[in-house]
Amino acid sequence: MISKFFAAVGLAILVYIPLSMLVGDYHLHLMIQILLWAAIYTGWAIMGRFGLVSLGHGAFMGIGAYTTVLLWNEFGISPLLGIPIAIVLAVLVAAIVAIPCFRFRIIGHYFALVTLALSEVVRLIIVALREHTGGSLGITPLRHADVSPLLSFQFSDKASFYFVALLFWVFTLLIWHLVDRSMARPAMMAIADDEDATASIGINVTWQKLRVTLISAALTAFGGALYGQYQMYINPDTVSGIAVSLQIVFAVVAGGMFVQFGPTVGALFTLMLAESLRVLIGNEYHGADTTIYGLMLILFIIYMPKGILGAILARFAPAKTAQFPDSKPGDAESSTAR
């Protein structure tokens, strides 16, 4: 009840922000970035928190962004139709790789490396199709002055896109909530602990894993498409490949992948950190911000594996965490206690 009240107030404030005219374009831009990435990170964590650490989400994001832009530029198909097509394509690719992965029990390091290869495959294909995609130089969605912004999905003001991003972010949180409330959660937690034992009590391991993977891939592709529409420029390195995959994983780890708002905190933290370091240090020391960022990531993973929000929640709500043990995969005590 109380949490619902807070959620309503928080959402009201978030909705009010662009209308208030108190924030300038720069801050609005930052908030859009945070919301978009927070949604993508949440999408990743929906599978990541069950021990399915994918380094392939750069692939889904790239498919989402590039399919949408290419359909618009080459065939004039509106992103309203293009985004669903892009999502279907990403889900198909996810299924093609994930089904054999789960059937042949590719887990842990091996799963990470297979998905890593996938994200490189997508990045390289984008680069190789340079006649259509512009290769490493990237691509810009064409602007048509005579087309309504609703059809082209290109908004001249930031406030409109802010609401799109906000809606998308709330949507991913809702999906997280639904997965959390469904039978998928206990099933996936059991799978993370012991696949054979889970299969022995009649749970279809492959299907359970596949379902969260496909949901996660779809959300990431969606996020990639929106990112492309917002930035109005994408290139293979900003939306696909290892760099993006790692960026996603790290932000989630920093924020906390086992709690609903963890990925959002991760997005807030990493973007604010990068931005403030950039402002603080200035642009002449190229790389200083990411150096500190990298160092902090290492420290985080060593000393705060639950992430910022995870650690805070564990400290301030010990009663609640005792009641619902953290869904940390491979944690034998918590699973037997339940």
Binding site: G51, V53, V97, P100, C101, F104, R105, I106, G108, H109, Y110, A112, L113, V114, L116, A117, L118, E120, V121, L124, I125, V127, A128, G241, I242, A243, L246, V249, F250, V253, Y285, H286, G287, A288, D289, T290, T291, Y293, G294, L295, L297, I298, F300, I301, I302, P305, K328, P329, G330
Partner: protein, 289 residues
Amino acid sequence: MEAIFDIYFLEALVNGLLLAGVLALLALGLNLIFGVIDVVWICYAELVMCGMYGVYFLYTGGLPLILACVITILLIALLGFLLHYLVIQPVLDAEPVNQLLVTGGVLFFLQSLATLLFGIDFRNIGLRLPILEFQDMYFSFARVLAFAVALIGMIGLYLFLSKTYLGTAIRAIHQDREIMALMGVDAKKVYLLTSAIGGGLAGLAACLLVLQYDVHPAIGLTFGPITFMICVLGGLGNMIGGFIAAFIISEMIAVGGYFAAMEWGYVIAFIFFIVMMFIRPQGLLGKKR
């Protein structure tokens, strides 16, 4: 049929073989660490990048090339040692995924630090090695050298692992982690030593790579993924398997590059890797998991 015996095609094949040498050398150190410590150094190629900068600055600073290489190998060995001591050791008992991620953090850190210190310029050591000509086919001497050194390195590592006491300890840890502690082997020391050797091999690879490629902060990303693929494809800890995998992957890249754009060669190689993981997850020559 004529096209198959095209001299350029043959040249592509041989160049693929030579590329295999470089990749096998890269995979050698990673394979050792992967096999013994069971940790994937995502940042392995970044150690190589550091080594390339090392050789570049020492050589252009006036040291003879050989000396620059030896110092670099020692420095990167130290870096490997520190990497294990400072970063891996604290998370050794954590989930495997955390170990993977923490080295990913090191990747970010080293890459950004190189950008900060050296800028994003492409730097060339400025040493022109001769191009070998054989019956109208051209091969880079640097690649032939890399191939030879990779072979020597592999044999050297094999002899070290099979003939010395430390090598035996390393192999024993690889076979059974738990029991070895009871046999009086200090796993901590073996891990540190393995990391140092792995780092040294990265340094060695760097010395050879800097002869053929410009060094820049993001160069690790070009070699990194392909190196993991080769290690896993060859079977973890299996040096010969690694060599064969390097050969297959580099022929795919070379032949793909001959028929179409270079990227398609890589695409085929990566897809081959993914499919092979489904068919033989233990690697080409690996034992059943």
